[in-house]
Symmetry: C4
Subunit: 200 residues, 4 copies
């Protein structure tokens, strides 16, 4: 199986996830501007998740770009990632409806954490399939963003039990860290692939 | 990243948006033709939004066609546009359900306005990435439609506080202005790309 | 605009339509096999519409296959067709819920009729763009199926006021007529395109 | 019609099915972790169906890969398969909501069984179109997994009348059997296509 097909399927699933999230935004009850007020936290949750899915879509493309041969483990690691991404609409809606409560913010963080772990597993599956000369391994380098994110998600989950807004602030911080498209893979592709320098 | 992938992803999202809008049309209560009557304003809202999304889809294709290299800012400007387009189903359903009320018609206009601004930002991001010899800049020319539309949307939002139908009429007018596919980019591609003439 | 892109977009919309129809099938109330009984008419409506959308998808592919250049009118004729197809889920759900009532069966036929008219307009738009040597015109020939279908839909709409099952039987009949993939265009492409023989 | 287009359309439909299943997971009522408890069976149903659809997507790709020419029967056999796959979200939601009841577990098995039969029909349609030298026939070999699965589904349906968890365990067992990507077709393609060895 070429990477084209897994990319096209993943793109389709991600495009659907990012779009059906909006179905969780309910038509306001009533016809006044005031009827929009209770929708604001739901809207902000949607915005945050939209950014997260946008980040995953962008980086996913770069990840598959360096993966020429799709093995069985890569295939299932990718579906595993899509599984957790598919829970974003649900987690988003729950946090949006109860933005001051402990459980929804913790659950949102748990879905983010599982997606990050699934991402890491997918990365490892591709690196393993590429062997010791792995281009992706060189491109990823020390991967401080990939290592810091789960830590911040765990902190965010813990923080939810103390203050939901603090928890949400931590999730926003991780999104901000990843917002800038990840140049590591592009850079590794540009430099001599046989001797790509690991990121400092 | 090539423009193919951003185009395929955007097409997917736009195809989903245009289709899930129909989910806001509820199955009529009752089994008589009279049960269809209250659905008529919702249906007309759906029709207007369908035309708007069709226009965006068509022009989006032309826009990306002249954009060979997709940079980070273009990527996020495009996702920003998709974000506002994704709110069309919600705004459409609200206006359809309360077609004589102020807030839903104003909110619909606000979503149209934000999409138009997002469109302008995307255009500027592509022009900036192309430098002083930008083909898109030449193709867009004075861009009177791009400049007139936001003005009409603002008028439409203001008009909603006085008369919702007038407001809706203004949104319909903008759709009519854009209905004819935009030939400027096609024309610029046909003429010598190095010396494309700006539109009068 | 090449036909690839309009085909990909249409395919996306049709794939979504055929799939979201299933969202109108509600999870049965209760946990017994008897709870499935009231779902049977809804299920049969879904099956009929699934076949219709499958037929449209298949023939749409053949139609665009002979259309090398996509003009503005073709683009909008295609979106117009997609608009009516997008109403299939709604019409299906309404007829499924009230399968013995007049209005839902008549409305279902009206949506089928509008889609058939939209199909004819799209065909004419492509023929017009191809000029007097139109390959599609030769392929379509006398188009007895294209002409008979709207007549049967009108009969079906009229029959609904007398007997809903008769009306539904007529819609089923048209589906059966089209079920066999339309070979006319394939045949015209195989024979000398410059001198394609009209269908008898 | 080339296999590219039928593959792209099927991929689109499967991507939508796998994603809209999540819409059946409802936002929990309440804002405590305890509110998640009643969602656990629904979540596990979703997980099982996600794996099933993932398996179908993966094997479907291999199936179409050996099918160069798409005939009318193959086209409809494929749509028939997609029809039963499209019922997965509904069957999943019903079993998730009533995980200890007879009918939902039996109905879930019935949908799995019908999809397996549709798969077998599609396989036969492709083999028939390829004639006596069929590459697919050689690749499939004795097809013990394809023959065992329907037997296990029937056992699962019967078991539901005695114990729903046992029934669900059998469905899980079939998923586990298929979880490993099917290498038969890949193997047959690698060996001399003219003399592919049947699987032992």
């Amino acid at each position: 199986m070429s990477n084209n097909r897994i990319e096209a399927f993943s793109d389709g699933v991600i495009a659907i996830i990012i779009t059906i999230m909006v179905l969780e935004l309910k038509v306001p009850h009533g016809d006044t501007l005031a009827a929009l007020l209770p929708e604001i936290p739901v809207f902000l949750s949607y915005l945050l998740s939209f950014i997260y899915v946008g980040i995953y879509w962008n980086n996913h493309h770069h990840l598959l770009h360096v993966c020429e041969r799709v093995s069985g483990p890569i295939l299932w690691a990718n579906l595993h990632l899509l599984f957790w991404l598919s829970l974003f609409p649900l987690a988003t809606a729950w946090m949006g409806e109860h933005h001051r409560a402990v459980a929804p913010s913790a659950a949102y963080g748990a879905v983010l954490l599982m997606a990050a772990i699934a991402w890491w597993i997918l990365q490892q599956a591709i690196i393993a399939s590429q062997g010791s000369e792995s281009l992706l391994k060189a491109a990823v380098g020390r991967d401080w963003k990939g290592k810091l994110s789960p830590v911040l998600y765990v902190l965010g989950i813990a923080a939810a039990f103390w203050s939901a807004p603090l928890s949400q602030g931590l999730y926003l911080l991780v999104a901000a860290l990843w917002f800038v498209p990840d140049r590591r893979i592009e850079r590794a592709l540009v430099t001599d692939p046989a001797r790509a320098e690991p990121e400092a």
